[in-house]
Subunit: 246 residues, 2 copies
């Protein structure tokens, strides 16, 4: 029996290629991100494809794969894939939910702390050899401990960030389309707030929504104007949730 | 009655100078760090001095103040002041314990996360315009969540870091000259380890000892060789606890 062909369109660290090759004819070495043109050129003979979140898979790419049956997306987000059109063509799309929840929450909290305590600036200052001694106001940052964190989009990752915030005695507000179960709120120490109140009250705001038509440009100039002037905003969602051009 | 003279030898952010001036004749404006020569030149007429932790106050500086009665150190650490000689001369030395415990613990945890998740490197990479899209192995860091943290010198600050680590489901080992009370260990989720075991087992090591004759060069090449090759070391104590030249 002929093995199906699998297009390895993105780098796949630590993958067992010989094991994969027992089930598939491998197209590509999984060592680099293929450009769109290359994907389109190779797809006609492939039943399966592995790609990642920086490779747009739109109608034209999907149309390039007449025998394509499955796209395995290496990542959680799938806003780069036209899933409605894929469904219409009978192409399954898979992603990797949960496996990155804790890593993403760690990184989100790393960015909160790094921004408030000015780690990047301090790092550059020291590496440039400018540090000569302690000054009380040198890179004076913002306290994280005990302050109010507003989580916009409090799903798996938002809740994991709230767990981390509890160790810093932070007050955690959140905003979702609909509130979490009361028991879950209590367990995670989360308090529901309407969107505008959250923007106005929070010292630090974390965005952890999926990117959907409703969340695209959820943050425009108006939302920034509602925030405190000292607010810190950390977006671990997709970029377009914030309208940067505003 | 003549007011005593107060030497403001270091920058004092947000200080109420007029209030201070009601009780003292102020020498200096508290807007910069005075060099040693300037301190020595001004001390002969001062009863009091405010300095910070980057201004060595040794015998010669203390001898320059025949009427000096008090040194208020702006900071927690006082290893830069010859306190034995100050005591012998009847000069009181004060510091600011506790007020910085949470800020220091926040910064300590910020450095743990920034190092494990490679925040400084990623920050520079993005600012240099090199980021073109997601790659799974680009700045692949180390997980913080669930790993083993070894705290060397688990006083106020070390314990405050342990509280933060609990939100990341970390296992916390610690080493002190003598173990903490059992009840305190349980409350903070801390487990005592002898120094060598801590070095060998921990994924991340935090140094939060005071600098004393016993802790100077506590970390030499030998201690580094005992650590895992992947270990992350964060020193929020004084520099000389680590013998960098080794």
């Amino acid at each position: 029996m002929n093995k199906p062909s699998l297009l390895l369109a993105c780098p796949l660290p630590n993958i067992d290629l010989p094991e994969l090759a027992r089930s598939f004819t491998l197209i590509g070495a999984g060592d680099r991100r293929m450009e769109r043109d290359e994907m389109v050129a190779l797809l006609p003979n492939c039943q399966a494809m592995i790609c990642n979140t920086s490779q747009p898979v739109d109608r034209a790419v999907l149309d390039a794969g007449p025998i394509l049956r499955i796209i395995s997306n290496f990542g959680v987000g799938y806003n780069h894939i036209d899933i409605a059109y894929a469904a219409q063509k009978g192409i399954a799309v898979t992603n990797t939910p949960d496996i990155l929840t804790d890593a993403t929450a760690d990184l989100g909290f790393a960015l909160i702390l790094a921004t408030c305590r000015r780690v990047g600036e301090g790092d550059r200052y020291c590496r440039e050899g400018k540090f000569t001694g302690f000054e009380a106001s040198l890179f004076l940052g913002q306290q994280v401990y005990g302050r109010t964190l507003g989580i916009v989009g409090c799903g798996r990752i938002g809740q994991a960030v709230a767990r981390r915030a509890s160790g810093f005695s932070m007050k955690c507000l959140y905003h979702n389309r609909k509130p979490l179960e009361k028991s879950l709120e209590q367990e995670r120490g989360l308090q529901y707030a309407d969107f505008n109140s959250l923007l106005e009250i929070s010292d630090i705001i974390l965005i952890s929504t999926p990117l959907t038509p409703e969340t695209r440009h959820l943050f425009t100039l108006e939302q920034f104007q509602r925030m405190k002037r000292s607010s810190v905003l950390v977006n671990i969602s997709r970029g377009p949730v914030v309208k940067e051009a505003d």
